[in-house]
Structures are given as C-alpha cells and as structure tokens.
C-alpha cells in the first residue's frame, strides 16, 4: 500500500465519479468519451478528466479508431489491484483472528480467577 504506483491507483478508484466511469468501462468493451458522458450525471469535460486519471493509473488504455478515441479497461492492472486488496483483507482477518484468540483466552483466565476468588 505504500508504493507510489499503488497510491495513484487507489486515488484513481477512490473518487465516486471515477468509479462510475470505471464501472461503465468494465461492463462495456470499448467506448468513447461522448458515449460515457451520455450515461453519467456530469459533464463531458469531467469525463475527460476522469479518463486521464484512470489512464495514468494504468487502469484503462485508449486507441484511436478513425476520428474517435476509444477507451477500454486494462484487465491485468485491475486484477493486480484486486489481489493487493485481497491480501490486505486477508492480513486484517488474520490479525482480527489473533485478537479474538487473545481476548477470549484473557477472558477465560479472568473467569477462572474470579471463580477461585469467590
């Protein structure tokens, strides 16, 4: 999570409007900025800005077809991000499981002690 490239990636997907653009790109193969602009509640200009950020993070790529520029998701990069998140989730799960073990053992110990004191 500390690497510079990851930072770019996380801030790219953190913005709700960008997520909306990314959602559309994920469920449609290759689309243009105007196509996207027709499906989101913000301006064509805003769409272009979001596309720049997503492209810089490596999440999408562009291709020229005639006079149109088409955008598509970079599946490999998305997969990489998904794996990084899954690892972080698994790490917290391990830590929570360890807390659970420790707290439950401490509680059992407290109960035993109280029982003896009685």
């Amino acid at each position: 999570m500390t690497a510079q490239t990851d930072d770019e990636l996380w801030s790219a997907i953190a913005d709700p409007s960008r997520r909306r653009v990314l959602d559309l790109l994920v469920s449609n193969s290759e689309v243009s900025a105007s196509w996207l602009a027709g499906r989101v509640p913000f301006t064509r200009q805003a769409v272009s800005k979001h596309l720049v950020v997503l492209e810089r993070a490596g999440l999408i790529s562009r291709r020229k077809q005639g006079r149109e520029v088409l955008y598509q998701v970079q599946a490999g990069r998305l997969d990489q991000a998904t794996r990084a998140m899954a690892q972080l989730a698994a790490q917290w799960d391990r830590q929570l499981a360890a807390i659970k073990r420790l707290a439950e053992a401490a509680h059992a110990e407290d109960k035993k002690r109280n029982h003896h004191d009685r």
């Binding site: 999570m1 930072d7 997907i13 997520r19 994920v26 469920s27 998305l78 707290a103």
Partner: protein
C-alpha cells in the same frame, strides 16, 4: 465513510473491556500486530511499530475506551502524518450482551479525508462497499464479459 479502503469485523466471546485491553496494551499488541510496539495509547502520541526488518512511525488519533481506537500510519518518512498523506486505521468495539463484542476494523485514507463534506456524503450514500468488495465486483463483471 469516505475513502474506505477496507472493512473487516469479528465477533469475540469476551466483554468489551477485555477486547479493549487486547487491542491497546502494547505487550498485547505485539502478539497480534507488530513484532515490536513502542506506543503510548494517548491521543496525539507518536510511536513506532516494527514488522520484521521493516517498521514505521505511528500516530495515535482517537482513544475513547472502550469503544474507539484509531491511529495513522504509512505516511512518508520525516513528515507529520495528517489526512492526505497517511492511512487511518480505526477499531470500533460494540458490546453484544455482557460477554460478547463485535470488533470492526477499517483502514481508510489518503486525500479523500480532505474532501468537502457534501462530496463525502455522496460517497457514503453511493458506495457503502469497501474497496476490496468494489474491486471484486469489477473483476467478476470483467471475467464474465471476457471468458477465459
């Protein structure tokens, strides 16, 4: 919550005070978290956590026993950790009866915390899911679209 990266929770068969001690006492912390924890659990206190040959500074943010404990980390060396350059880890403890506690951890961060409130609210309304869930969903949509 704005900028939510991850959210996990666990149900523990112990009272909330016991769970609180487990997550905040340094000798306990070193058993579930870092290899070495050098930290005073007080709002604003600066400490250090060591993981193997890696380590980093930590700054305690909120200490509200036995309900809430949070700290910031992953900020650039030599800088003060603030919203914008660090990750916020927050533990929330909720008693469920006398002998049970729901413990929730969230990790959130980066520039999102500096967003205007209206934007944060919109984010919270639209995206309850954490980033892991969001990415999982995207990946599954993608794999359905591109078989093999």
């Amino acid at each position: 919550m704005a900028g939510l990266v991850i959210e996990r929770e666990v149900l523990i068969e112990a009272p909330v005070e016991v769970v609180w001690r487990t997550i905040t006492e340094p000798d306990q912390m070193s058993q579930w978290f870092a290899d070495r924890v050098d930290l005073v659990v007080e709002a604003g206190a600066q400490g250090y956590m060591e993981f193997g040959d890696q380590g980093g500074p930590v700054v305690v943010e909120v200490v509200d026993p036995p309900a809430r404990f949070s700290f910031r980390w992953n900020h650039p060396r030599g800088e003060e950790p603030v919203a914008g350059n660090s990750m916020l880890v927050e533990f929330t403890l909720t008693p469920e009866g006398d002998e049970r506690t729901r413990l929730r951890v969230t990790e959130s961060g980066h520039e999102l915390l500096a967003w205007p409130d209206a934007e944060k609210q919109r984010y919270a309304d639209e995206h309850q899911e954490g980033w892991a869930d969001y990415l999982d969903r995207l990946a599954s949509v993608l794999s359905k679209r591109q078989p093999g």
